[in-house]
């Protein structure tokens, strides 16, 4: 799970992570912890749409009305925004600003969660319980990277390029396949069964609760190192090479598993490059490919009613076949 989140942080184009798992496996904690590791960037001060200086001002509802004034910048961390479960549509896409509408009947747009998540991460916990119309909405915006609002007499559009991270317990309900497909990577998390691991988790959690600041300090160095490795990986990403042999393996793997379309392969390769960049490697190796194959492909497998085995097993079987060949 941690690996998948790091990969998504290095290359947002991969398209988000779906974390499946039982309750109490630290899913939400891990995602929220991600925020701490993300780099900072320069955004236009006071712009609620998080416009970056290099993005055109005409496209931003806020900045387009302020052309001519000097643009001031501010350093901000890449956001990880929570989508609360009880959220209503107006809070997600933005809506008429009531504060201005009521006294003066003035029409002004108040941006929603999607604006805040631009170029950041949108975290939806229990995504399989999310309202259908909200799911549709998220899919639309995630696909087009633009949030178009036509409601209550308003007509607004703004950029909303975010990475969707979802978590949920598959026992409580299936995820719609259209939604599942939107996620670049998928992981399965289970409660640790080993005694030492369990004890360590309990101990750490207890330590954190007793003295949060001391806990953070204890791990500060490792957190910093991780943050730096993400930043390094981002810059190194474009230089990572994928040898032809690895490309062939990837294609063969997808053929073997019968994944639909080419998205599987593209995601697989992108993830492999990001993973290599994280490791500091400049060439993608077969080992790296094998290591992240499951992450990129397990949720794209065609449903085979005759095959009772889980997707993890199928990916591994296909890997064995393809790699020894």
């Amino acid at each position: 799970m941690k690996r998948a989140l790091l990969i998504a942080a290095v290359d947002p184009r991969i398209g988000g992570v779906m974390v499946f798992g039982d309750r109490g496996t630290g899913k939400s904690t891990a995602v929220r912890g991600l925020a701490d590791l993300l780099p900072q960037e320069q955004v236009v001060r006071d712009c609620p749409y998080r416009r970056r200086a290099d993005e055109p001002a005409e496209d931003c509802p806020h900045c387009s009305t302020r052309s001519g004034t000097r643009v001031r910048l501010r350093k901000e961390t890449v956001p990880v925004v929570d989508l609360p479960l009880g959220a209503t549509e107006d809070r997600v896409v933005g809506a008429l600003d009531i504060e201005r509408a009521l006294p003066a009947a003035e029409k002004s747009f108040e941006p929603g969660v999607l604006a805040r998540a631009h170029r950041g991460f949108l975290y939806v916990d229990e995504i399989n319980l999310l309202e259908d119309h909200l799911v549709d909405l998220l899919l639309d915006v995630a696909a087009s990277s633009v949030n178009v609002v036509e409601r209550e007499g308003l007509s607004i559009r703004h950029a909303a390029r975010f990475v969707l991270i979802g978590s949920g317990n598959p026992e409580e309900g299936e995820l719609r396949p259209q939604l599942l497909d939107r996620f670049g990577l998928a992981v399965d998390v289970a409660t640790p069964k080993g005694l030492t691991d369990r004890v360590e988790v309990v101990k750490r959690r207890d330590a954190f609760e007793q003295d949060p600041s001391a806990f953070v300090k204890r791990f500060a160095r490792r957190t910093g190192a991780l943050r730096r490795s993400i930043a390094r990986a981002r810059t190194a990403l474009d230089e990572v090479e994928v040898p032809d042999a690895v490309l062939e393996r990837a294609a063969a793997l997808c053929l073997e598993l019968g994944t639909d379309g080419l998205r599987g392969e593209l995601t697989l390769l992108r993830a492999a490059r990001a993973s290599s960049a994280l490791d500091g490697a400049s060439i993608v190796s077969e080992e790296t490919l094998a290591a992240i194959a499951s992450l990129a492909l397990r949720h794209r497998l065609r449903r085979d009613p005759l095959d009772e085995s889980g997707s993890e097993v199928r990916v591994r079987r296909a890997l064995e076949k393809v790699l020894i060949a």
């Binding site: 107006d90 009531i98 509408a101 969660v113 026992e171 409580e172 299936e174 409660t191 309990v202 449903r303």
Partner: protein
């Protein structure tokens, strides 16, 4: 109550009453850090327990009230909060309305009939428990409010019904089973809680209690032994141990206290007995706790289990104390299962799916209509303003920046299109030699259906009847994963207790209707009933019973399909179908796809 602030850690007989008093006192001591799940229906025992607890909590709370009660069917906006429309309109700027969750900050939230609370609200409550804050993004209000809640959940479900949502149950550390206690009505006079002043003193001491490092490892081991997977439970034992030490007036958590805490938290969650080669009695009697709690008796009767090697001899012998302590609190039905062997993992109790009630604020917005917003209906603000606009001059609005004059007739609310989910109940005749084949059909049809269903959020359940009774093999679920797991081993053979199968299916249908779903019943049988509800193999009696039963079920009006699985389509199934007012389809050959097609057709018919 004793004058000294010491609750006996070793409960005097009967142990159950002692544990009950302890659990309640501990909950009152630290409601936000513990949480209490009370299982059991209405009755004198529960009344007694609740009034005692209420008394204690009222004494401890600033405002003198024991808890905030969450009424069943509460709308999201009342629970979570949002915009206070009246205040907003008169003040001319957004005024947030605090929801019940925010109001219960620092107090206790009482959830009666918790098994009927919709999943989304349960998730919200769990989120608040986890993070200590409420994240609101509704109706023009975005805020994060710090909320510390103690949750007291009342579960009134029967043994065979699905109970409190497992997600919430995991977060509530103390589980108390009242029916087990109520059998000891005589000794109930011993039931007494700690006093408010004792609790206040304990609260102050709690933070400085010393918990030895090694405790975590020991509790993990014990949890493992009893098949308790949840790490929250393990952490919970440590938290409860701390509270218990504070209550008992000691400075550190010792073995006895750890044992009691383990017993309270892990006992009710046990799914198996430890498989160690010791001489633990397979079915511990209630009085056994007296021997087990005292360390001396314990070390004599125990032999060292071999597999504790890595944790050292000291650890294992003291872990045995814990094991013993927890063993006495394992629920009777788990014990009655099989001592020393692993029970099949108890079917996770699914919380009832969120009801798509009228006007509960769910579903696709589909236009507006006139009316005042209530029960979770949402104001269509701009429409309302548009309606009021032409009248402003007439109503004497002072000027362009003066408040808008709005009357009740101007209000417009959002109309929603809500689709009630369907629950398809398969009632399968698993009797006789053709059982395996029929069950395979049912399984195929269910998987087909689920593959289609998840798009529309429909659910599936499976009841099998054979031998002398009926069994709910798959409680209502929309999870393909769970369906596969539960269906993988289907038993067959014996007589046909058709009536029992119908009763079970009927009950599921009733539950579904109550929860807001539309049930559809699919009966796979040859119609030849030969076992009565009482379990007698009397064919004629079974038939008469069936007639009365079908009349009752037909009256409920559940859409039904009878799939005749007999080799030669016979009158029995046809008659049954007529009596039920159902669609009839003969299907002598196993064909899962055909069954599911039939069902989908029926569902489309209903929806139309």
């Amino acid at each position: 109550m004793n004058a000294r602030a010491s609750i006996p850690v070793v409960a005097p007989a009967p142990a159950l009453i002692g544990d009950l008093s302890l659990a309640l006192s501990l909950f009152a001591l630290d409601p936000a850090g513990s949480g209490l799940l009370l299982r059991g229906g209405h009755g004198p025992v529960r009344e007694r327990v609740l009034s005692a607890l209420a008394g204690l909590l009222s004494a401890l709370h600033v405002d003198g009230s024991p808890w905030r009660r969450v009424p069943l069917g509460i709308g999201d906006d009342r629970l979570l909060g949002g915009l206070d429309l009246t205040a907003t309109l008169s003040a001319g700027r957004p005024v947030a309305a605090r929801g019940l969750l925010a109001e219960a900050d620092g107090s206790v939230l009482l959830l009666p009939l918790v098994e009927h609370v919709p999943a989304s609200q349960i998730t919200e409550i769990c989120s608040v428990l986890d993070r200590g804050e409420l994240s609101l993004a509704r109706d023009g209000v975005t805020e994060h409010i710090a909320v510390r809640l103690g949750v007291l959940a009342l579960d009134e479900s029967e043994l065979d019904e699905s109970g409190c949502s497992p997600a919430l149950a995991d977060r509530l550390l103390l589980h108390v089973d009242l029916p087990a206690v109520s059998t000891l009505t005589g000794e109930f006079d011993v039931f007494e809680l700690a006093s408010a002043s004792e609790l206040r003193r304990a609260r102050e001491r709690r933070a400085s209690i010393y918990v030895p490092d090694v405790s975590a490892a020991r509790v993990c081991e014990v949890a493992d032994a009893f098949g308790v997977l949840s790490l929250r439970a393990v952490r919970g034992v440590l938290a409860i141990a701390r509270s218990l030490a504070a209550l008992s007036g000691v400075d550190a958590v010792d073995d006895e206290i750890l044992a009691s805490a383990s017993r309270l938290v892990l006992g009710p969650r046990a799914t198996r007995m430890p498989a160690v080669e010791s001489e633990i009695d397979p079915v511990p009697e209630p009085q056994r706790h007296e021997d087990s709690a005292s360390p001396d008796a314990e070390s004599k009767s125990e032999s060292e289990p071999d597999d504790d090697g890595d944790l050292g001899p000291d650890l294992s012998s003291s872990t045995d104390v814990l094991l013993e302590a927890v063993a006495t609190a394992v629920p009777a039905d788990v014990l009655a299962g099989l001592a020393g062997t692993t029970l099949p993992r108890l079917a996770p109790r699914s919380g009832r799916a969120g009801a798509a009630r009228k006007g509960s604020g769910r579903g696709r917005p589909a236009g507006t209509r006139a009316g005042l917003p209530r029960h979770g209906e949402r104001l269509a603000l701009v429409e309302t303003l548009r309606t009021a606009a032409p009248w402003q001059a007439l109503r004497g609005r002072a000027g362009p920046h003066a408040p808008v004059q709005i009357r009740a007739e101007d209000f417009r609310i959002v109309r929603r299109k809500v689709r009630t989910p369907t629950l398809t109940i398969f009632a399968v005749d698993a009797s006789g030699s053709a059982a395996v084949q029929r069950l395979a059909e049912a399984k195929g049809a269910i998987e087909h259906l689920l593959a289609e269903c998840y798009v529309r959020r429909d659910e599936v359940a499976l009841v099998a009847f054979r031998g002398t009774g009926a069994e709910v093999l798959l409680p209502p679920t929309r999870s393909l994963l769970r369906a596969r797991r539960s269906l993988s081993a289907l038993p067959g053979g014996g007589g046909t207790p058709l009536a029992a199968g119908l009763v079970a299916a009927d009950r599921l249908a009733a539950d579904a209707e109550r929860a807001g779903s539309t049930p559809v019943l699919v009966l796979l049988t040859d119609g030849r009933a030969n076992v009565t509800l009482a379990g007698d193999g009397d064919r004629r009696a079974a038939r008469t019973e069936l007639e009365t039963l079908t009349r009752r079920i037909a009256a409920r009006g559940v859409a039904t399909v009878v799939i005749d699985t007999s080799r030669r389509p016979g009158a029995a199934a046809q008659t049954l179908s007529d009596q039920l007012g159902a669609r009839y389809r003969p299907l002598p050959v196993a064909d899962g796809a055909a069954v599911s097609a039939e069902i989908l057709a029926l569902q489309t018919e209903i929806a139309a």
